[in-house]
């Protein structure tokens, strides 16, 4: 989660939210979240699990089609 926060702090183009999956189960289900941490980019499920910084950035950019 902290990586998402760091990206948001470093770029005005990026916003980051942590969402507690149990409390927001409807949203989690809608995005196909089955394991945490689950990363959703631009409202589309991207991946689950922790990855290093470089991989995180590349996956986020790939998920949005950059």
């Amino acid at each position: 989660m902290l990586l998402a926060y760091k990206l948001a702090l470093a770029s005005p183009r990026v916003t980051a939210r942590a969402i507690e999956a149990s409390e927001f189960a409807v949203d989690a289900d809608r995005h196909g979240v089955h394991a945490v941490p689950a990363i959703v980019v631009d409202a589309s499920y991207a991946w689950a699990g922790t990855v290093p910084e470089a991989a995180f950035v590349e996956r986020v950019l790939a998920a949005r089609g950059s």
Partner: protein, 139 residues
């Protein structure tokens, strides 16, 4: 007491590293999609109340952190904690996710982003808005 003395000492130590002031906004109210949350033993958890306890306890551990609390009457994505200019946490920052709250505050109070030059270069090239949601659980 929401936080034990050891937790308070650890959090105080982390927040001592703040390089600037950080505003934290806590929004409470009825959730738009209510769920029943149970603690061990079957006791029902009041997410708004527990979140307020946690966030108030953490913010009280540093003079650099200011907390404001807003109560909503309309249903929404509450409880929502906004750290600094826009880092959001929806739900209770409890358990393992206490770290997200504390270190989110620390990151928001940094003078410069704690990221590699390569990452900063990639970010500088982004020309459209990107929304990252990370689903988490306290356990």
């Amino acid at each position: 007491m929401t936080l034990g003395e050891r937790e308070q000492d650890a959090i105080r130590s982390v927040l001592a590293g703040l390089e600037g002031d950080v505003d934290v906004k806590l929004e409470l109210g009825p959730t738009a999609t209510p769920v029943t949350l149970l603690a061990a033993g079957g006791r029902e958890i009041d997410s708004n109340a527990l979140t307020q306890e946690i966030v108030e306890a953490v913010c009280a551990l540093s003079d650099r952190v200011s907390l404001s609390v807003v109560e909503h009457e309309e249903p929404g994505p509450w409880p929502r904690t906004t750290i600094g200019a826009g880092l959001e946490y929806l739900g209770m920052p409890a358990g393992y996710e206490l770290t997200t709250l504390v270190h989110g505050i620390l990151e928001a109070g940094r003078a410069a982003p704690a990221l590699s030059d390569a990452t900063l270069e990639r970010l500088a090239a982004i020309d459209e808005d990107v929304a990252i949601d990370v689903y988490v659980t306290p356990t």
